[in-house]
């Protein structure tokens, strides 16, 4: 049974991860994670020190747990670039600083890195207000390119077809078929009835303005990163899904760090980088759950939490994993799930890391809509 230690600044409590009920536990692993949490208060999503927090926390955890596999995410530069207008030089400094922080971790830990960028960010050129549809348009806070269209009227379809900022409108089945062809054992983990009838896909630089999008208008959004940069000495890969098998293959001989740097594109990576496939045909993964889960499971995962699905029609009275944001299940096939060695994750993608990688112990910030509420450690197991 997984346990969450919540540190709301000078106040720690322990909860059952699945039910959210308070739970007593003082196993060595829990005590150790609680100690690391209290030594590293989170500075805040857009604070300059937020990425340093990832490195320092990870190094502290490593010194006490001695893992073989580490998963990290550095996201400060993504949050900052998404929400604030910086001069171009400052943007470059932010992205370079994120890479430098990842490299600092590699230097200090001695782990063999697999560094993955989620690709470039570009200025928001415009957004499409779909609040006037007869049907329902649903997007999500972090998505720019995709929007679900539920029950559109003929008038809605005429309107959508008239938008030249829209790249395409894809019927649900066509979207599923696209991925089924690329991944025959594709899993659709949500109730298909909650999926949109159509997926509206924005042209590059455009975003949607609908129910579910953030009150804070983004300044930069992800480019259409059909390929993303990866650098590792472990071998050559061509697709995001090949990272998991590559890491698993080398874990018997190497201590490995899978490091995500969000919003960072090819130009900030060293010469030895490779560009790997990120998605299928017209569908590229944006930074977010589908990207993380595809990376971690080695399978396409656009339908674990499908873009534009009617999340609010799920049975919220029976929600599990209340500390896990909209994630409500522990996925199979994740990178560290059946790994016999020790594994940890640290990141400033909140309420996310502990579900995405299947590691033994994770530490992540607990921030919602950029409001800094502290940190959380999740101990899935400490019997290794």
């Amino acid at each position: 049974m997984s346990l969450a230690v919540i540190d709301a600044r000078e106040w720690q409590n322990r909860f059952d991860l699945e039910t959210g009920q308070p739970r007593k536990s003082d196993t060595p692993g829990v005590e150790m994670a609680a100690g690391v949490l209290s030594r590293h208060p989170y500075p805040g999503d857009v604070d300059e020190q937020a990425n340093q927090w990832v490195t320092d926390t990870a190094l502290d955890l490593i010194s006490h747990y001695d893992p073989d596999l580490v998963c990290l995410s550095y996201v400060q530069q993504f949050f900052s670039d998404r929400h604030f207008k910086h001069p171009e030089t400052e943007r470059e400094r932010l992205f370079a600083a994120a890479m430098a922080e990842a490299n600092r971790f590699v230097d200090l830990s001695g782990f063999t890195p697999v560094i993955v960028g989620t690709g470039d960010m570009i200025p928001l050129a415009g957004d499409m207000d779909l609040s006037g549809l007869d049907g329902l348009a649903v997007s999500s806070n972090w998505s720019a390119r995709y929007c679900g269209i539920h029950g559109p009227s003929p008038r809605d379809m005429d309107f959508l077809n008239s938008l030249d900022t829209l790249e395409r409108i894809v019927p649900k089945q066509e979207w599923i078929d696209l991925f089924q062809a690329a991944q025959p054992d594709l899993e659709i983990l949500q109730d298909p009835r909650l999926m949109p009838d159509f997926l509206a896909v924005a042209r590059e630089g455009q975003a949607f303005k609908t129910m579910g999008t953030t009150l804070r208008k983004p300044v930069h959004i992800p480019a259409n990163n059909f390929q993303v940069p990866v650098v590792t000495p472990l071998g050559i890969i061509n697709d995001l899904r090949e990272i998991k098998p590559l890491i698993r293959e080398h874990l018997s001989t190497h201590k490995i760090a899978l490091i995500l740097v969000e919003g960072v594109g090819e130009s900030f990576f060293p010469e030895s980088r490779r560009l790997v496939q990120n998605g299928v045909d017209w569908f590229c993964y944006e930074p977010g759950d589908a990207f993380y889960l595809t990376l971690s499971t080695g399978r396409h995962q656009p339908f674990a939490y499908p873009a534009g699905f009617r999340f609010f029609d799920k049975d919220a009275d029976a929600v599990k994993f209340p500390f896990s944001g909209y994630m409500d299940m522990i996925l199979g096939h994740t990178l560290a799930l059946n790994f016999p060695g020790k594994s940890i994750a640290v990141g400033n993608r909140s309420m996310f890391m502990h579900m995405a990688f299947g590691v033994d112990i994770s530490i992540e910030c607990f921030a919602r809509n950029l409001f800094n509420q502290g940190c959380m450690a999740v101990v899935h197991r400490d019997d290794k």
């Binding site: 329902l136 009227s153 009150l215 049975d315 209340p322 919602r368 509420q373 502290g374």
Partner: protein, 339 residues
């Protein structure tokens, strides 16, 4: 030409008003940005937070722009403290009938205005009320309570459940942290709202600043009606108070101890994992409503254990507006069903 919606009573002939949401036109006060909403999102009613109104219900959260306060710790400063004219590009234009249709489409049981101060958008909200009432959709709001008597009466007609911020209990606090000279209108309005509306009250606690005023607030609430739920929020240092310390939870809990003797429904939250969010029967101490708090508008109903709004152990009535509403009692419906 003075605006009579809030106690600032801005002279609208002298340039932009304080909130920037009203103007003078042909001798009348007019909304500058009618039917412009910053959001329309389904959310749990507990996340507002309303703890004693329609437990478990799906609310449609709405808001506009602008505010008549300038709280130093405002967590929605990027919407509430900006010039509304600069925010119009992020707004949604939804006339009242379409906004109410949206609530139906998204399966919402009620509509709650909670991002900024409703006093700055009352004419639009009055129009929403007209259509919401036709559809039997109740409306609620969060307000800072700094409205004129006439505006308060208007709000009492629009909203059947109201969550009022009582941010401190001294003019000195309101002056320094909120920017108004006198809190008396707020106290007057809380008394007025309590006559006809379901009322809950929220107070942010800032250690060493207003924690010594907590008991005064409790006494004030007690004198109106002891069963009014009181939410004490641990301050989340935001906006101009970003560098402030997070209040110590154990010390703040201690500071509430004497108030608990006066008020049976005190909730201490706005931080993840709070254990002070359940409702206990004031007579026998049995837990009648269990909640879960993620802090920062992330609260939710966990278990409702008070059938008929009474304690199952001793039968004591628990003050709740309406009854338990299942999240999926109404599901999203198609546009054909709405029109």
């Amino acid at each position: 030409m003075k605006c009579q919606f809030c106690e600032r009573t801005c002279d609208l002939t002298k340039g932009r008003s304080f909130c920037g949401m009203y103007m003078e036109e042909n001798g009348r006060v007019k909304e500058r940005f009618p039917d412009q909403w910053c959001t329309y999102t389904p959310s749990r009613i507990e996340s507002v937070p309303f703890y004693h109104a329609y437990p478990g219900a799906r609310s449609m959260i709405i808001g506009t722009a602008g505010c008549n306060f300038r709280c130093r710790y405002c967590s929605n400063g990027f919407i509430a403290c900006k010039d509304p004219a600069d925010l119009q590009e992020v707004m949604y234009t939804l006339p009242a009938d379409r906004l109410v249709a949206m609530a139906k489409k998204m399966g919402c049981h009620n509509i709650v205005f909670n991002v900024n101060e409703p006093a700055v958008s009352l004419p639009s909200l009055e129009r929403v009320k007209y259509y919401a009432r036709k559809e039997e959709i109740p409306m609620g709001c969060l307000t800072n309570g700094y409205t004129t008597e006439s505006a308060t009466r208007l709000m009492m007609e629009i909203f059947s459940f109201v969550h009022i911020g009582l941010k401190g209990f001294s003019n000195a606090f309101y002056h320094e942290f909120v920017g108004i000279p006198d809190m008396a209108p707020i106290l007057r309005n809380i008394r007025m709202f309590a006559q006809t509306c379901h009322v809950e009250i929220a107070s942010p606690v800032i250690e060493d600043v207003n924690d010594h005023e907590l008991f005064d607030i409790a006494r004030f609430i007690h004198d109106i009606r002891p069963d009014i739920p009181w939410h004490v929020f641990r301050l989340l240092p935001e906006h101009h108070m970003k560098e402030s310390l997070y209040p110590n939870i154990d010390r703040m809990d201690q500071a509430l101890e004497t108030s608990r003797k006066l008020l049976p429904y005190i909730y201490f939250h706005n931080f993840v994992g709070s254990r002070w969010v359940n409702t206990l029967c004031p007579d026998c101490g049995h837990t009648v409503i269990k909640r879960f708090s993620l802090g920062c508008s992330g609260d939710r109903l966990d278990e409702f254990l008070a059938p008929g709004n009474t304690c199952p152990e001793c039968g004591t009535p628990i003050p709740i507006l309406g009854t338990r509403v299942a999240w999926n009692e109404k599901q999203s419906v198609s546009w054909e069903a709405v029109s």
